[in-house]
Amino acid sequence: MQFEHTEEQLMIRSAARELLESYDSARLRAAIGAPGGYEAALWQQMGGELGWCGLALPERYGGAGLGWIELCLLQEELGRRLVASPFFASAVLGAALVMECATEAQRQELLSPLARGQMRFGCAITGPGGHPAPQGVDAEITSAGASLRLSGVADFVIHGDTADVLLVLAREGGGLSLVSIPAGTSGVHVIPHVMMDLTRPMSRIEFQDVTLGADARLGAPGAAALPLERALDLARIALAAEAVGAAERVLEMTGDYLKQRVQFGRPLGSFQALKHRMADLMTEVEAAKSAAWYAACAAQERPEECAEAAAIAKSYCCDAFYSCAAGSVQLHGGIGFTWEHDAHLYFKRARASATLLGSPVWQRERLLRVLGLGAAATPAF
């Protein structure tokens, strides 16, 4: 039992932090304005020479064979800088869906290019109502002779407009199936949104009688519901890690400002009203780190605790991030409300991360069910 990162793990963290040190506000804003909403050069560097996309993939797919603990360290560092990147959609959510749902041959085919940084996934798992998957899935698969036909709408697809392959969750028979569709397939219409969170673009995707080969289905027909849950929990845990990194960073930025800004002849940070709010935020951040780190361990070592740990980490870390980002806007005063200052970028990411894959309220209701405490009406989001 050692609940601290190892030397090797800390080296991964410090290498990532060093690389992203130069990812400042100007670079982030340039990325937001770039085609696809991310910096292509950084994505190539992360996926190619650094091997980040394959970090947690088994060696047989060309990965480094490390685990979710290491992946979550990268997520924390990416979160600190709000890096706008296909990493979460591809190397976290997409990889988890393929690992959990696909056959060995399909994994080989989809994950090997990911490990080389040459695969961007768009995960079309959410229906148009925006309910956490698998609630409200609209897309449906019907058999058409030897092939499959896909129709319906998915929404809130992260980096859906630049994906190489779409992973689409669809109803089939009485169950759920996951299919992979190459970008540009006939009948697939991708409509990019303008999102409140500028750092994580999303699209609505309409499927109009898309014809697919039976081999597009990952795993057995209608059998995706169970592996989907595990994949979603892994993604929630990694999202929690990202939130923790961002929360910690936005708190640091706020602390620096309070030390330097003088009013009434004193640094703002010497006023107890502001100190106490900062102390409360740090208390949340420290507890959030414990939640995220434990969940990453559970993802790696204790599958039986994964659902509980994911619900705890996703709800607590996203709440903590929101508190810190909201506190940052308030404690910066007027400048915190401007477009020019980065506080709003953190605030908007905090809101978007809280919603993604089930809100904190939704996670807490789910937690009680996991613990066997019965059920109340399902929260909508």
């Binding site: 420290e286 414990s290 019965g374």
Partner: protein, 394 residues
């Protein structure tokens, strides 16, 4: 980073679990699940002696002083098994968790040899003499005086003053105290850390009745009380540093033990909510989930603190741990009475309370003692976040 245990550690687990089960289904079955602070005093003292005799009293201490040189993992395991077995709250915790570790870290060899083995055997019990009527949050304002008098073998500290909030003082054998030993000194300078026997004519203990109706705290008066000249931990005048060290030990393995009591309280709330149907109320459900999450986070944070402490570091969560658990438990108390409804407000004829109303009332103290939430926030802001210090009055 890994959560698992080795086969040797698992063997230790089954050995400890076996012993606890045998005791708590045998000679100590009446104490199973005992969560009060000090009820059934005589039986609780017997339990401490039984733990000591089996060398389970202070397993992290060196074997030479009655411990087992247990590793961090073994201490975690023992705390878990202790909780799982429903073993009673440790009435010896002032000695085991505070006095002992302080003496171990800062004491002389003679002090270690004199004081540690009786704590480990469960034979001597301790209380804490820090707070005074005018030294609460401002602990450095301590005024209780101690002066050295006498010559040669007769040289002793003579202590005069008043301490307050001394839990368990009524049956403690010893008190570790912060006293002023330099005439005219102020603030945290000129303080010393003394070990003082409680059973002597110069010490008077008066219980303080609290809002719960119980009397767990005391006022303790020292009127010409004495202790040996060499019963000072650290150098005379160095008491502040030693006392702060004791506060750091409060964040040790004991937190894992404390959490077992919290778990029992939360389980009782869940049982009550199931029984009266409140478990189906969406707002209550959210609060139950928050409570469960908070408790788990305390456990994870305690594991982090222990892991970094073992590597010789005081990590950031150590600063935030107190305010986190205290605020959590106060909310737990409110949840308890919201689940129970009006029934929570009916006391026994002697103004005694069942577990959950007692939690509601008792938890109001959690954010006060051991440093109020407001003092904790100052400490976090100044020491962990590096914000400017509070201006001091003259």
């Amino acid at each position: 980073m890994q959560l698992g245990f080795t086969p040797a550690e698992e063997r230790f687990r089954s050995e400890a679990a076996g012993w606890l089960e045998a005791q708590l289904s045998g000679p100590f079955r009446d104490l199973r699940g005992e969560s009060t602070f000090s009820a059934h005093l005589e039986r609780r003292l017997e339990w401490e002696r039984a733990l000591g005799a089996a060398r389970y009293g202070c397993i992290g201490w060196p074997a030479a002083y009655g411990g087992r040189d247990a590793t961090l993992a073994e201490q975690v395991i023992f705390a878990e098994e202790y909780a799982r077995a429903g073993a009673p709250w440790r009435i010896g915790h002032m000695g085991v968790e505070l006095a002992g570790p302080t003496i171990l870290a800062f004491g002389t060899d003679a002090q270690k040899a004199r004081f540690l083995p009786p704590i480990a055997r469960g034979e001597e019990f301790w209380c804490q003499g820090y707070s005074e009527p005018n030294a609460g949050s401002d602990l450095a304002n301590v005024r209780t005086r101690a002066v050295l008098s006498g010559q040669g073998a007769q040289r002793r500290w003579v202590i005069d003053g008043q301490k307050i909030w001394t839990s368990l003082a009524q049956f403690a054998d010893w008190c570790f105290m912060l006293v002023r030993t330099e005439e005219g000194s102020r603030g945290h300078k000129g303080l010393s850390y003394l070990l003082v026997p409680m059973r002597q004519p110069g010490v008077t203990v008066r219980p303080i009745r609290q809002m719960t109706g119980e009397a767990e705290f005391n006022e303790t008066y020292f009127t010409g009380a004495v202790t040996d000249a060499d019963h000072v931990v650290g150098a005379p005048g160095d008491g502040w540093r030693i006392a702060m060290g004791t506060l750091a030990f409060e964040r040790g393995v004991s937190t894992l033990g404390q959490q077992m009591g919290f778990r029992n309280e939360l389980d009782a709330i869940i049982a009550a909510a199931r029984a009266n149907g409140m478990v189906g109320d969406p707002l209550i459900r959210q609060r139950l989930a928050h409570a469960h999450i908070g408790l788990k986070l305390m456990r994870y944070s305690a594991l982090r603190m222990l892991s970094s402490a073992q590597a010789g570091r005081l990590s950031n969560e150590a600063y935030t741990y107190k305010i986190f658990w205290a605020s959590w438990r106060k909310k737990l108390g409110e949840l308890a009475v919201d689940v129970l409804g009006p029934a929570a407000e009916v006391a026994a004829p002697t103004y005694e309370w069942e577990l959950l109303p007692r939690l509601f009332l008792g938890s109001r103290a959690d954010t006060i003692y051991g440093g109020t939430n407001q003092i904790q926030r100052n400490i976090i802001a100044e020491r962990a976040l590096g914000l400017p210090k509070e201006p001091r009055g003259s």
